[in-house]
Amino acid sequence: MKPAPFDYYDPDSVEEVLDLLQQYGDDAKILAGGQSLGPLLNMRLSTPQIIVDLNRVADLEYYKSDNTGLRVGAMTRQSTLEDDTNLRTTQPILAASIPYIGHRSIRNRGTVGGSVAHADPAAEWPAIMLALDGTILIRNTKGTRTVDASDFYVSALTTDLEPDEILVEIQLPNWVKTSGWSFIEFSRRHGDFAILGVAAYLTLENRRCTKSRIAIIGGGPIPIRTSKAESMLIGETISDALLKDVAEQASKELDPDSDMHASADYRRHLASVLVLSALQKATERANKSGGK
């Protein structure tokens, strides 16, 4: 289990990275934290001719908050965000989800950009991006563009990124104070990729729901927002009966896979159970935060 040979470049600026990508296109692969790519290289499931390592591009390792929201550079490590206790109030869903990503030594290397770009449907970041209406800043030699997370995930492990592009930053709008949230995950072992997970985000005004997000991990080939279920909540006062119906609806909107860890039917069952608890918890939190 040793990687196949490749040519290796570790430029220290984004411009040089983009030049290399332009030059080598499909033959090149970006290496960020290596926590997904590393195993794939070792197993020779990925055999790129060129590796372009981002680890020396210092410009991509940052995060900052302002009145527009949170911006995180692609090479920011998961553990950097994990250790910032402020995020627990400013971005509670994000802060709650990060400890679910593998283990500490994985998060010390694994990057935000890598997780978002790798687009594993069982990973936390893609679903969080959906739940929080995140946007993705992309660059190539010609310039930059921004894509909504909801347009970014195309099909299994495939995103809107072109071979000559890199993800440079992700942006999350500020948290709406009168909101409640919940993040729940079901896996066979602690730290494993989820069999099913839910990120729920509800905003209540005068007891009525004005905004709802239900994003599902492991519910299909890409992370999914169950938009029909979400819309059932809008304008409504929350009741247990309603939440049950919404959870049922959410599970119907999924297109889960069957594999050795869980069948599609069981994943659907889990979705209905977990969405319900997530919505209950989110409602409770929204009520507490003054969104009644």
């Binding site: 289990m1 079901f186 066979r188 072992r189 594999d259 069948s263 069981y266 889990l270």
Partner: protein
């Protein structure tokens, strides 16, 4: 006829320094500092590296292999296929080699046909492992796929082996009494089909070998073998057509054995073969993906059981049809696993009438062998589940149905009426009802079971019990040699192996108890075939029992000689002397003493009195042809969330009796380690195959080993009530007591938690999805 040679004449141990004390392990200092010598830590000058090309098909004919292009690639030294192997033989069976199994043996490389995904097809030797792997894809093999059989109960499938009419490698019956009569008399019959899933030992260190031909010594040296090095040397000599003494096998530090590691596998022939051919050292380190498809699997068995009972719960008889999924070949274990299953199935209970028919069937999967408590983890799980099902049908308490059927202390020694490994199964000693009572008491089963049951939340709690008997201390012999050199340094050598269980510490403790020195002053050497002429090895929880007894006797011999020489030097009678704190002193004048070093100097050929043979060097072979049986009982408490169907083991209690512990903390470690492995097999670990025979859980992402967060609290209690009478140190093996009962106890706990749906529980591992399926019909009703 039972005999354990030398079991009489125990010498009184003056200071039992050593035995029974939880001293810190002697091997740990090097391990803690990263100074162990595991096989991959070893490098020889000019060493080449091997990789194995393995079949991607579960069943296919090989029509052509083209290595020409691969041979031209950088770093490649040679590539071997079956056709290149000179006068190659199949790998023989180690345990109970029935001739009828010969058509099913595995050759080191596939000969025109592959029978599982992972079957070795070619060996590549290159200057680095990287380069060897580079050409795996450059060897062009043409496969003609054949029909695939992954079901041990499938009777019509295409035979895997040319010489065989079907895939049944073996079909035999173990029986006692008259089951027909028992079922005629039955007042109640309980039926259960129970499946034990495929999983295995999966040591954290994968296998590895280095072979080198040493021209100065004219010897082939092989580093990396373990477990049964003497036997494996014989196999290699036979297969390479060499004299046995021209081969030396050397055991390095070993990162876990668990039964799978150290058997003779195809690579154990291929790597030495290549080293001899190339006259250069060759290293092969199995990678994890190979390990999961190449190293023995285990456990996959289906039990069709029927039990005849009286209304009060008394067992009249049991009928079992046991299908054992053997995988693509018969390997070194032959059919010992299902044989053990059939022999031990009656367990600690009086089963007056018993019939077990075994079918061991070849399938297109990785060949199966032994894994810690082989055959027993499976049969114990099945039997204990059957008992709980009967209890539930007859509305008897699970403790009661067990108590009333357990073998009583006064029944000992108890002849079960079955046989395995060429021995009649005779339980030598043990108080089985007491172990059950103790575990019930320890877990507060009676008090808590009902309280915990009554909760109304989504979390349902269940308790499950299993009782077990464990065969340990398998013969026929083990040897130990003890030497004291002229500086007084003590060295113990044995043919048993240290697979990570701490053999060095245990044997040092036993020797130190006789010689009254500190255990850490004793060096223990093991696993090198040149250390001692004969050796058997470490399996079947035998090393402490057999090698420990040999060390004990060898130490007694050396002690006697020490006293004799000291008596001569001190001008007194042997009877006037004792050995204490490592010195030889006069009983009445303890200040008159000689140190061990002084006596050792007196024993040298220069100083030794003419009428005494010089030297302090004794070997003892402890021989015993009867196993000694440990026993115990396990209770598991689980919590099941009936919405998500998550299963959380909360607490495990294990009460066991191994006669006596040499190092109680180490024994506890064996119990806990085994218990968690058993929980892994009961909840997480499974080798899954798709219908085309592809292994779908072939990495650590999908083959799930338990970690700290999946491990409950474990409480264990050692009883020491039934010391073994078959050996001088009175011990029974401890290695398998933790794992033996836990599968059944867990399955029963899940059933208990599931209430009315619990009778569905019929399989291991139990996944959340299975719980969901078992609960579903109930939920449909309530909805």
């Amino acid at each position: 006829m039972v005999s354990c040679l030398g079991q009489h004449n125990y010498m009184k141990i003056e200071h039992s320094k050593g035995i029974g004390e939880s001293i810190k392990r002697l091997e740990d200092k090097r391990f803690l500092q990263g100074q162990g010598h595991y096989i991959d830590d070893l490098q020889l000058p000019d060493m080449l590296h091997a990789a194995v090309l393995r079949s991607p098909y579960a069943h296919a004919t090989i029509t052509n292999i083209d290595v020409d292009f691969a041979l031209e690639q950088p770093g490649v030294v040679t590539i071997l296929t079956f056709a290149d192997l000179h006068s190659v033989k199949p790998i023989p069976i180690r345990l109970n080699p029935y001739g009828s199994l010969e058509p099913f043996l595995q050759y080191p490389l596939a000969n025109k046909r592959v029978r599982y995904v992972g079957d070795p097809v070619a060996l590549i030797i290159a200057h680095s492992r990287y380069q060897a792997e580079d050409v795996l894809d450059n060897i062009v093999v043409q496969y003609d796929p054949l029909p695939v059989n992954i079901d041990a109960e499938d009777k019509v499938s295409c035979p895997l082996h040319h010489d065989a009419k079907d895939n049944v490698a073996s079909n035999f019956v173990q029986q006692k009494g008259d089951v027909v009569e028992a079922f005629n008399k039955a007042e109640h019959i309980t039926k259960l089909r129970f499946t034990s899933g495929r999983h295995s030992g999966v040591p954290l260190e994968t296998r590895g070998l280095i072979a080198n031909y040493d021209a100065t010594q004219e010897k082939l040296k092989v580093w990396g073998p373990t477990k049964v090095t003497h036997f494996n040397r014989g196999v290699l000599a036979h297969m390479l057509e060499m004299e046995e003494h021209t081969i030396e096998m050397i055991e390095p530090d070993v990162g876990g054995g668990f039964g799978v590691r150290g058997e003779f596998y195809p690579e154990d022939y291929l790597i030495p073969y290549a080293a001899l051919m190339l006259k250069r050292p060759v290293k092969w380190i199995e990678d994890r993906l190979e390990n999961l498809m190449a190293c023995n699997h285990s456990r996959e068995q289906i039990y069709e059981m029927e039990m005849a009972l009286k209304k009060d719960g008394t067992i009249l008889g049991i009928k079992v049809l046991l299908s054992n999924d053997q995988g693509g070949y018969i390997r070194t274990h032959g059919i010992i696993v299902p044989e053990l299953s059939a022999a031990i199935f009656p367990g600690p209970y009086r089963i007056p009438n018993y019939r077990c028919e075994v079918r061991s069937v070849l399938t297109n999967k990785t060949p199966a062998g032994t894994y810690r408590a082989p055959g027993r983890y499976e049969c114990n799980s099945s039997r204990e589940r059957l008992l709980d099902l009967a209890a539930s049908e007859l509305m008897i308490d699970p403790v009661k149905i067990r108590s009333m059927n357990l073998i009583q202390p006064e029944d000992m020694p108890y002849e079960v009426g079955t046989e395995s490994l060429g021995e009649n199964i005779v339980y030598d000693s043990g108080d089985y009802p007491f172990a059950l009572q103790e575990v019930v008491r320890l877990s507060k089963y009676e008090e808590n079971r009902h309280v915990d049951h009554d909760n109304l939340s989504n979390k349902k709690v269940g308790y499950g019990i299993a009782c077990f008997v464990e065969k340990t201390g398998l013969g026929p012999f083990e040897g130990a040699r003890i030497e004291i050199d002229q500086t007084g340094a003590i060295t113990v050598s044995t043919g048993a192996a240290n697979v990570g269980q701490g053999l060095e510490t245990t044997l040092a403790q036993i020797a130190s108890s006789v010689l009254t020195v500190s255990p850490d002053s004793i060096q223990v050497l093991h696993g090198d075939t040149d250390l001692i002429p004969y050796g058997v090895g470490s399996f079947a929880s035998r090393a402490t029992v057999m090698a420990g007894s040999a060390v004990y006797y060898a130490a007694q011999k050396i002690r006697k000689k020490l006293l004799k020489i000291a008596a001569h030097t001190m001008n007194c009678q042997v009877e006037q002397l004792i050995i204490s704190d490592g010195d030889i002193c006069m009983i009445d004048h303890q200040d008159k003493r000689l140190t061990l070093t002084q006596v050792a100097q007196q024993s040298s050929p220069r100083n030794c009195p003419p009428d005494i043979e010089p030297g302090l060097d004794f070997t003892h072979y402890f021989r015993c042809n009867q196993m000694t049986f440990a026993h115990g009982a396990t209770i598991v408490k689980v919590e099941i969330d009936i919405t998500t169907c998550a299963i959380v083991p909360k607490h495990v209690w294990i009460v066991y009796d191994i006669g006596k512990a040499i190092n109680p903390q180490m024994v506890k470690g064996q119990i806990e380690g085994g218990a968690v492995q058993g929980l892994g097999g009961a909840l997480l670990e499974e080798f899954n195959y798709d219908p085309s025979g592809q292994l779908t859980s072939g990495s650590f992402v999908d083959y799930l080993l338990p970690t700290t967060t999946e491990t409950p609290l474990l409480e264990s209690k050692r009883l020491d009530r039934s010391p073994s009478t078959l050996n001088p140190i009175q011990v029974k093996g401890a290695g398998e007591c933790g794992i033996a009962g836990i599968g059944g106890a867990l399955a029963n706990a899940v059933a208990d938690a599931l209430g009315d749906s619990g009778n569905n529980v019929n399989v291991l591992p139990i996944t959340p999805e299975k719980v969901w399926q078992w609960l579903m019909p109930m939920q449909d009703k309530t909805n």
